[in-house]
Subunit: 262 residues, 2 copies
DNA sequence: CGGTATTTTGAGTATCGTCAAGGCCAGTGG
DNA sequence: CCACTGGCCTTGACGATACTCAAAATACCG
């Protein structure tokens, strides 16, 4: 059941990587080689994509949906340490067993590359190698962003930080963002249970935090998983967000950013 | 004052990298090239090693002391997102401005490599390139470990997690660990203020947490910055630590690990 | 020995985790 | 079509924990 071998191997080679900025600059032959060894796989929400501890035999790139990275605690419970969305890579090259498990948080599709051939290509293509390095650098930065959010003393602040991450990092993903009547409407792509695990709290506290933010007029809850951002400035203040400059929204969502400080 | 240009350029080339496992396997000529471009620099506690935002012009390896990585929040306060100890690398290759600032938490010495020559060498030496990649993979894992610790609901649990990190990751460092009468004595290499920033709490709560752990008989406080671990099992339980297997202490500290579960 | 920084302790308040119950929605089967 | 079920989100009450402000004690340094 966790064994999603039903990934359809398309008869013809479908370009699957050139779409994303981190791969777009690769030489044509590298892209071609990647496309050829790429296999699509589909997963349903809840399925295990890659278990921790086992030697991973593939590298993956998310094409659609959201995956969660999680660590299993000694008492058996899982703790989420990050989300993977469209364009994100996962899997460990050159190295031993993976430290994090990857599961589908929503229905998802990924490109997978068998580790051996991928590593061979890596050695032949310095450009790919560098792309991988840069990808990991930004992954590291993101993990540290999570640390700052998690260090927030109040659940309210952590929720605010999470919403800001959605507005920025997930801006180009799927249809997670759209313009609403009074601001930006973001879709929360994971369940409250997962969000609680990610933010180190409980679903009850999450609910209270969301509604407290709504009562303050910072956000409006259209649906449990559909939040409208009414005041991005106040939200940043709540989150004590550091990287205000990083709030670079696509132009079509620019209206809400009108009067930003600094 | 923050400009520690007083790094002594040693007249003769001192091998500075072969000491550490991640570099030991590099080919002799690569090591030699590294040693030649390596410049030692000394910093006093509190000095800025590398500012965030500015283009970093060097890659660093910590030789002695502890550095803190921190992000500056929008209100000007800094938040610590990690520590760097002996053998750790920092600095950004191939890429734009650094996302984290690096400051000396204690008096410290580093090896620095100018970015340009380092990157050139990187392109010539696939082994160095791979070492860098692996280094970043483990850095990423560590950041996620911090996330798990930070997600701990109680300060007590976060302190326990921090102490476990000291016992494991920092085991081979400096003289941070030594055998005490009833267990392992670890030196906490950073101030309470810094620790509070790292764990997302306040110094007052830290103090209470330390003394609560001491009252429970899990640890004993020899000095404010000198903690004796009396029961590593209970400490792991307090921390809800996931990576129990990762508690691989050097043999000379093995006594305390006698009866571990699983 | 005195002065400063750091750590600790105390008291009051706010927040959060926990337990318990209720509401909403989708899917199921009568 | 409707009752039933289970999952998910929400609300309420209560105790535990942590943050805040304030002050004392200790350690550190000249």
């Amino acid at each position: 059941m966790t064994d999603a071998k039903d990934g359809k191997k398309t008869g013809e080679v479908v370009p699957c990587l050139a779409d994303w900025p981190q791969f777009a600059r690769l030489p044509a032959d590298t892209l071609e080689a990647l496309d050829e060894m790429c296999r699509h796989r589909e997963y349903r929400a809840g399925q295990i994509v890659s278990d921790a501890g086992e030697d991973q035999n593939f590298i993956g790139v998310v094409r659609r949906g959201v995956l969660r990275m999680q660590k299993t605690l000694y008492d058996g419970r899982a703790h989420i340490v990050g989300l993977l969305v469209e364009g994100d890579m996962f899997g460990r090259v050159f190295d031993g067993p993976a430290q994090v498990a990857v599961e589908a948080a929503t229905d998802a599709m990924i490109c997978s590359f068998r580790r051996g051939p991928f590593q061979e290509l890596l050695m032949r293509s310095p450009e790919l190698d560098r792309a991988l390095l840069l990808n990991m650098l930004s992954e590291l930065d993101r993990a540290r962003d999570w640390m700052v959010i998690l260090a927030n003393p109040t659940v309210r602040g952590r929720v605010a930080g999470f919403l800001l991450v959605l507005c920025t990092r997930f801006a180009e993903v799927d249809h997670l963002l759209q313009n609403g009547p009074d601001g930006l409407v973001v879709k929360i792509p994971i369940s409250r249970v997962d969000l609680a695990s990610l933010l180190g709290t409980r679903t009850e506290s999450l609910s209270r935090a969301f509604h407290a933010l709504a009562d303050s007029g910072v956000i409006a809850l259209r649906q449990p998983d559909l939040v409208e951002i009414l005041d991005l400035n106040v939200l940043s203040a709540e989150a004590r967000e550091d990287d205000v400059a990083g709030l670079s929204l696509p132009a079509e969502f620019g209206s809400i950013l009108g009067r930003r400080r600094r």
